[in-house]
């Protein structure tokens, strides 16, 4: 069995040789290749722009999630001040779930940032190669016999094809990543859209199970305890004692 590295290189070569079979004489091949490269370069630019747009959209979504976290925190405080520990617990449970998801998305976002940077560099390399191909094709046309030209074109075109496929793959992976992040972000949106203090005991879907797990983890208890002690430090406890029976 051939190694992964050489097999990969063969796959890349096969991907681009198809395009070269279409033209019959070297000069046609050269012009055809160059035109195809320019079109592909445009598609690469478009692909990178799509990834950038998707990423920006996600960033907007994070900030609204961050606001949601703050809001849930506020609701928990209100609930506790009103002596509704059950509601406060629900709000904090939800807050913890959103925070956990947010953390995951942020981490993916950082990876995406790095990928995006590489995409931009890849586009630059590709642009330089297409430019080099343009000047080389004139040299090949002028200096080489048909047979020699065919060989040189084949090499140059497969070098570019490889670069093209590399950037294409990077775009594909970045797109997949934004899709994944989008799906997670949407799940959080659903989680928070229902409102913290309503409809909490619905069927046991994935989010509910996560919420239950977090609740058990003690994070919620800790926060409840913290909030309580903060409240007890203020003037509230005395008033509450005085009104115990309402």
């Amino acid at each position: 069995m051939p190694g992964l590295m050489s097999r990969l290189s063969l796959i890349f070569k096969a991907k681009f040789s198809k395009a070269l079979d279409r033209a019959e004489n070297p000069n046609e091949t050269l012009d055809y290749s160059y035109e195809a490269q320019l079109r592909q370069l445009q598609n690469v630019k478009r692909g990178i722009a799509d990834v950038t747009t998707a990423k920006k959209r996600l960033e907007l979504q994070y900030s609204s999630m961050q606001q949601q976290v703050d809001k849930l925190d506020g609701q928990a405080r209100q609930a506790l001040a009103a002596n509704r520990e059950d509601l406060a617990r629900e709000a904090l449970t939800r807050k913890a779930a959103v925070q956990q998801q947010l953390g995951g998305i942020m981490q993916q976002g950082q990876q995406l940032e790095a990928q995006q940077q590489k995409l931009i560099e890849g586009e630059k390399t590709l642009q330089a190669k297409v430019e080099a191909f343009r000047s080389q094709k004139e040299v090949i046309k002028a200096q080489y016999s048909a047979a020699e030209a065919q060989v040189r074109i084949g090499e140059a075109a497969s070098g570019i094809g490889e670069e093209m496929a590399d950037v294409g793959l990077a775009i594909q992976r970045a797109k997949d990543k934004t899709d994944q992040m989008q799906a997670r972000a949407n799940a959080i949106d659903e989680l928070t859209a229902t409102g913290a203090l309503e409809d909490f005991t619905s069927s046991g879907d994935d989010i509910d199970r996560q919420l239950a797990a977090i609740s058990q983890s003690g994070q919620v208890d800790d926060e409840l305890a913290k909030m309580k002690s903060q409240l007890e430090g203020g003037a509230a406890p005395k008033e509450l004692e005085g009104e115990e029976t309402k």
């Binding site: 069995m1 190694g3 992964l4 590295m5 050489s6 097999r7 990969l8 290189s9 796959i11 890349f12 070569k13 096969a14 991907k15 681009f16 395009a19 195809a36 079109r39 592909q40 598609n43 690469v44 692909g47 990876q111 990928q115 590489k118 560099e121 890849g122 630059k124 390399t125 330089a128 190669k129 430019e131 080099a132 191909f133 080389q136 090499e155 140059a156 497969s158 070098g159 570019i160 094809g161 490889e162 093209m164 496929a165 590399d166 950037v167 294409g168 793959l169 990077a170 775009i171 594909q172 992976r173």
Partner: protein, 99 residues
Amino acid sequence: MIVRLLGEGQFRVDDSLLAQLNELDDKVEQAVEAGDERALWDALQALADVVRANGEKLADEDLAPSDAVIPPEDLSLEEARELLQDEGFIPDVPAEQTS
């Protein structure tokens, strides 16, 4: 020989490194067979490190095709399996997807 690190570019490395690269390449395949993503990443990282440390980056204008292609260091097991089975992992060149 010329080696491409996917997503990063091409490097010219001395042929004397071939044995070392092949050994690490085997580790990549073993990790995929064992379904061990951690080991896969370690092997891919090691491969890339060898190339980066010993290779000379090719100029952007160089049109030479690569003799070997090394997948990205964060390749998932799923992607690696696709890669070993068929050509599904590598998308068609962009112009062939849409007009």
